[in-house]
């Protein structure tokens, strides 16, 4: 059985490699565009098959409860460098998420890439894309830290190239630079962490026993990992690359980046802190929890201010990472206090939200891509009325929006509910500080949910409803069928997991059991119903399916009653009420800026909005035009990163001209001084 699964998995990897090779051929031989388009379709088809196989193998791995699969073990002649890949439950879970997303994204790409036709080298894109997927699989299945590090860097590098793929825009390349610099520095910290561990255990293997590491070193390593992975995950205040990089990348790549790449950081935290290092102190969890709260709240606050579809989604990723971290933090605290069940519950919540976020955020980015594909703009102030021209896209987008706002029959609610429950369960007598924090986290979660809903009402309402605000929006046409299918599958999965959460949770339970040693399946009741509460009899239950049924029945009843009472439905179509003035047009509608203004005013201390009004014309009493613009200050960039960056530049520049003066006398003096210094050193040493 193991052998069979292993082969299945390797087959999937091999297919990706084949896809990469094929794309490389297309790239290098620069076939005419028509051929390269066919080639691209084939490469994507290969990816679809590969992801299908990979996903199936991973799911089977978890469900059939076989031992962890040793996939590949090749060592190189260079010290430490080896290719060692294992597939255990945790890896399999993340690979499953990856595969599901890749499946849909590849399907979507078939249609999406057609807009590159004749403009760009699709072969290159596909090459980077497949390699990127391979790198992520490598990250998720690496069995030693060196291998992990290499794949991690490869993943960063490839995603960097994908971010700058549309390189003619300067903002894209800048975004890429910010991204690669931040991620590389973070990776350096990871490297330090790995090597500190190595210096105690003398092994890079993930199976190494880390018990011998002294507590202080463990603390340092934890902080390094937190910053290292935190940067990739985009936790505040290390998030600033995210809102730059996601909009810059092509949408299918943003979907992968936001959907699964930033989750590799969550994988890293679980894998390295929980499994590898072992949670040692309660404060580890507390730090993560606090960062989670911060990221969730600030992330959603910035989400609600954004008017660029993809930037909005990027900030929203920050928020969701925050939610995941809240779950993770609670689980770390619980494991540190040896509450296995609570820990497992919280871990389940975090991991489920990870999976869910993969689905809906991937979907949303695909949706954003579809909008961009149809209208060539990412600015929602230029959109409107797309629901009429792009009905299916609108429907899917609505589903994703509801899911991400944690609204009931969708999967987002399930994971948030579990997070609430884990927070609730973590409030135990005796830990006032922790309890206080848990309550705060719950409040933050509530705020986050409502504000996310507000943001997505804006996003959906302004871009899909009302009147089109620009010509492109008016002329938009629905996207190719493959793109639609890609999004459709994700939407269906969102709803599916929302309605039948237990299927997913039971799968997840095996993962959590192998990671944390606790299982919550004993607490679960019902086939599709969900019930959980650890301390008393399970009476806290939710059943989205029942709710859906009830909803359906009530709607039906209401319909019937109204039909009976009110008779036949007679509808009169007429213009929207305009208070008797001129007919409404697209500019009298509420704009996205207007929509989010109340929130901006309420949180003005955070946003520090800058308003600018320019009156054009001769007299201020008879203006020809009034241009009003408002921007939100990004406090972390303006008050943290910018000053530090400038200070560094200034330091560099000054030192440069002070040291390398161009005067040979100075240079000779350095040599002279060093000679004297070292002679003195020798005298005293």
């Amino acid at each position: 059985m193991e052998q069979y699964l292993r082969n299945l998995f390797l087959m999937s990897v091999l297919l990706y490699v084949l896809g990469a090779a094929a794309s490389a051929l297309i790239y290098f031989f620069k076939k005419p565009y028509k051929t390269s388009m066919t080639g691209s379709v084939m490469v994507n088809a290969v990816c679809i098959v590969a992801s299908g196989l990979g996903g199936a193998a991973s799911a089977a791995k978890i469900l059939l409860a076989v031992n962890s699969l040793k996939l590949i073990n090749l060592s190189s002649t260079i010290p430490f460098i080896s290719l060692e890949m294992n597939l255990d439950n945790l890896s399999a879970y993340f690979v499953l998420a990856l595969s599901v997303l890749v499946f849909c994204v590849s399907l979507y790409s078939i249609g999406y890439l057609s807009h590159y036709n004749g403009k760009r080298n699709i072969g290159l894109f596909n090459l980077l894309y497949t390699l990127f997927i391979l790198a992520m699989i490598g990250v998720l299945t690496s069995a030693n830290t060196v291998c992990f590090y290499i794949f991690w860097e490869a993943m960063s590098l490839l995603s960097y190239f994908l971010v700058v793929f549309e390189s003619e825009k300067e903002e894209n390349t800048k975004a890429g630079t910010v991204y690669i610099v931040m991620t590389h520095i973070a990776t350096a910290l990871l490297l330090i962490g790995f090597i500190i561990i190595y210096s105690y255990t003398k092994s890079f293997a993930l199976s190494a026993n880390t018990a011998a590491i002294p507590g202080m070193a463990k603390n340092i390593v934890f902080i390094l990992f937190l910053i290292g992975f935190g940067t990739k995950a985009g936790i505040i205040p290390l998030h600033i690359w995210l809102p730059h990089a996601h909009p810059a990348a092509p949408s299918n790549v943003s979907a992968l980046m936001s959907g699964i790449m930033i989750k590799t950081a969550i994988y890293g935290l679980v894998r390295f802190v929980l499994c590898y290092l072992g949670v040692q102190n309660t404060w580890w969890g507390v730090v993560i929890l606090i960062l989670g709260i911060l990221s969730a709240v600030l992330g959603v606050a910035y989400t609600s201010m954004e008017h660029n579809v993809k930037r909005l989604l990027a900030f929203c990723s920050v928020e969701n990472i925050g939610i995941i971290l809240i779950g993770l933090g609670v689980s770390f605290i619980a494991f540190a206090l040896h509450h296995q069940i609570i820990g497992s519950l919280a871990l389940t919540a975090a991991l489920l939200h990870t999976f869910n976020h993969t689905l809906f955020k991937g979907g949303l980015f695909l949706g954003a891509g579809a909008i961009q594909y149809a209208t060539h703009t990412k600015n929602i102030e230029d959109l409107g009325g797309l629901i009429k021209t792009m009905p299916l896209t609108a429907l899917f987008f609505l589903c994703f929006s509801l899911a991400i706002s944690a609204i009931v029959p969708f999967n987002g609610f399930i994971s948030e509910w579990l997070t609430y429950q884990s927070l609730f369960a973590s409030i135990l007598p005796g830990h006032i500080g922790l309890n206080f924090l848990a309550v705060l986290a719950a409040a933050a979660l509530a705020l986050t949910g409502a504000m996310a809903a507000a943001a997505f009402v804006k996003l959906f309402g302004i871009s899909f409803l009302g009147l089109p605000r620009s010509e492109q929006a008016a002329k938009a046409q629905d996207v190719p069928a493959t793109m639609m299918i890609g999004m459709g599958i994700l939407a269906a999965l969102c709803l599916g997991i929302g309605l039948f959460p237990l299927t997913m949770i039971k799968l997840l339970d095996k993962v959590v059991f192998s990671v944390g040693g606790g299982s919550i399946s004993g607490q679960l009741r019902g086939g599709f119903l969900l019930a959980y509460y650890p301390l008393t009899i399970s009476v806290n239950s939710i059943s989205p399916l029942t709710f859906m049924l009830a909803l359906g029945v009530i709607i039906l009843l209401a319909f019937i009653v109204i039909r009976i009472v009110g008779g036949k439905y007679i509808e009169r179509r007429y213009g929207t009420w305009d208070c008797g003035f001129e007919a409404l047009n697209s500019r009298t509608q509420y704009s996205a800026t207007g929509f989010s203004k109340p929130i901006k005013i309420v949180f003005r201390a955070l946003f520090r909005p800058i308003r600018k009004t320019i009156v054009e014309g001769d007299s201020q009493y008879h203006p020809e035009a009034i241009i009003y613009s408002t921007t939100v200050t990004s406090i972390f960039e303006d008050y943290l990163y910018e000053p530090v960056y400038r200070a560094l530049l200034r330091f560099s520049r000054r030192t440069k001209f002070r040291v390398q003066t161009g005067s040979i006398h100075n240079y000779l003096f350095y040599i002279f001084a060093l000679v004297l210094l070292l002679m003195l050193y020798n005298r005293f040493a």
Binding site: I387, K388, S401, L402, S405, I407, V408, W417, Y420, I427, P429, I432, V439, A442, A443, L445, A446, G449, A450, A453, A454, F456, V457, F460, G461, L465, G466, Y533, T536, V539, N540, S541, S543, T546, F547, A550, L551, I554, I555, A558, F559, I562, V565, G566, I570, R572, R573, G575, T576, W577, S586, T588, Q589, Y590, G594, K597, P598, I599, I601, V602
Partner: protein, 318 residues
């Protein structure tokens, strides 16, 4: 069997009482303004009238506009099914807890907000935008105040919470509950679009939130939305009265008689609360929109103080 009885009782009570409560509050307001006011049953007639009417639909709107009334009404009703009016006829398990209730209501609200944007009307956008802000601010207080009572009973399930509360004696004499009660009261007023800015009775754009969102609706759609709003209001009121003024512990017997008695007391409590709400609304001046954060903060602080009390005292409240 229990399930069906429970469902029927919930449905009937909520459906019947909701418009009445609305009328009652209006009556209180009318009386306070030295008007006679409409009958307390006026809303039933209004609903009937609206259902009978033809429907005008904006030619900008899409299917969102059409499905929203049904969804809003259905979600309100679905939420109502999860908030027992009486603990005398509880099924063994209710498929949802208060988090679910909040989420269900959020579904309705989500649709209401996007429907308001669907018609390209400025009013719709305005209402939707304001509603977004208010809900964002109020949500944490709802969660925290419910969290507090849930912590006391160590369960997030509403029947469980209500049953635990019955053992407390007089909850309103208890510091934790007082805090939660005050927080909930503010929440109810804000959620039902009353103070400090909104006014369900007028269509003045300065004060419009909920009414602005449903401005484009007419006919049976409007009826559903109005009904839905009334149901939602009653859901919150039920939460309030059944948690803070439990009565079922007084009634020993289990059976039809007890049920009826319990329901009567429930009705009494609701009427009482409606009167209080009416009086509060009458006695409060309308404030500018951006005083809502203060109100929300107040409610949040109250709820948080409640939970703090609970935590500091070590959870010995049962």
């Amino acid at each position: 069997m229990n399930n069906i009885v429970y469902l029927l009782v919930q449905l009937l009570v909520i459906l019947l009482v909701a418009p009445f409560v609305n009328g009652l509050i209006k009556k209180v307001k009318a009386l306070s303004q030295k008007r006679k006011g409409a009958s307390v049953f006026q809303m039933y007639f209004d609903l009937y009238k609206l259902v009978k009417k033809k429907t005008v639909v904006s030619n900008v709107s899409s299917w969102i506009f059409h499905v929203t009334p049904y969804i809003v009404f259905a979600t309100a009703m679905a939420a109502a099914l999860l908030v027992p009016v009486s603990t005398k006829i509880l099924p063994p398990q209710i498929p949802g807890d208060f988090i679910m209730v909040v989420s269900i209501l959020a579904l309705g609200r989500f649709f209401l907000m996007i429907a308001a944007l669907d018609t390209a009307s400025t009013f719709g956008g305005m209402g939707s935008s304001r509603e977004a802000m208010i809900s964002a601010l109020i949500e944490p207080s709802i969660l925290i105040s419910m969290f507090t009572v849930a912590l006391i009973s160590r369960s997030t399930s509403l029947p469980q919470i209500m049953e635990t509360v019955q053992k407390v004696g007089i909850p309103l004499a208890h510091p934790v509950y007082i805090m939660v009660g005050l927080a909930l009261l503010i929440i109810i007023l804000a959620e039902t679009c009353r103070i400090p800015v909104d006014d369900p009775a007028t269509h003045l754009e300065l004060t419009m939130v909920h009414e602005a969102m449903i401005l484009e609706y007419s006919g049976r759609h409007l009826a559903l939305l109005e009904y839905g709003a009334a149901v939602k209001q009653l859901v919150f009121m039920t939460l309030f009265v059944n948690i803070l003024i439990p009565q079922d512990q007084l009634i020993g017997v289990i059976g039809l008689g007890a049920l009826i008695l319990s329901l009567l007391i429930y009705l009494l409590k609701v009427i009482l609360l409606a009167l209080v709400m009416g009086i509060i609304e009458v006695n409060t001046v309308k404030l500018k929109l951006f005083s809502i954060p203060n109100l929300a903060a107040l409610s949040f602080i109250l709820a948080f103080l409640g939970v703090l009390q609970f935590l500091i005292l070590g959870g010995k409240h049962v």
